[in-house]
Symmetry: C2
Amino acid sequence: MTAFGDHVRRRREELRAQDRRYSLRQVARRIGVEPAYLSKIERGEMPPPSEETTVRLARELGEDPDLMLAMAGKVSSDLQEIIRRRPRLFADLIRQLKSEPDHAILRLVREVRDGTW
Amino acid sequence: MTAFGDHVRRRREELRAQDRRYSLRQVARRIGVEPAYLSKIERGEMPPPSEETTVRLARELGEDPDLMLAMAGKVSSDLQEIIRRRPRLFADLIRQLKSEPDHAILRLVREVRDGTW
DNA sequence: CTTATCATGTAGTGTATACTACACAGAACA
DNA sequence: TGTTCTGTGTAGTATACACTACATGATAAG
């Protein structure tokens, strides 16, 4: 069960079919790691990389950084900081939303965005 | 600037004034760490302990674990898991709420709790 | 056909995390 | 006054994190 690595490999090979600049080596080079390291990550021989590297990889592959971080078992540090500033409020809210359906959360997002206050 | 250590020490000595079972040694013993370690944490000579130890310490001192974790620069792993399961939704919501006032977030919490849907 | 590019195997590195273990001097208590 | 309890100083440890460096055999390009 190596969801992260499998996903990265699939996505990279998908892009590679259109553009040979998406070889493991070249992608590794562009995100600033050794090819051997990326190879091991894709095959699940090594755990997902750091937050910074994961975000660079997400951008390189045209994927959502938050989603990619989630697959890496992480939560973006900027989100963590927002929570840490008002821990009681956010802890309550998030735990309440745990069992709510997607559309309910989406509605909240829209409500706040549109200022339906 | 060692907010965590200072806070723990203050709170512990507060409790100790009423109950001598709140000596550094005895608290350390109850939460399962060495006295020297807790001493260093309180004085900011060592960084805050692990999530588990921080939560045990919070309970011991009658404080809110989420608040204590926030002071330790951490976010509870159960909250992180909730976010990781639906990263896009929660990332959007949390970032939107970043600059909203407390009462706005509180209102959302209540809205969800009371099922004002 | 040979040169470059490809992925991968093996080994090693520096730093951080999260502690323990022991020893010591001063205060409190009986 | 001696035993016990207090906090703290010093030293060391085990594990995880986040990689690099080099070598090798296979594949593709010119």
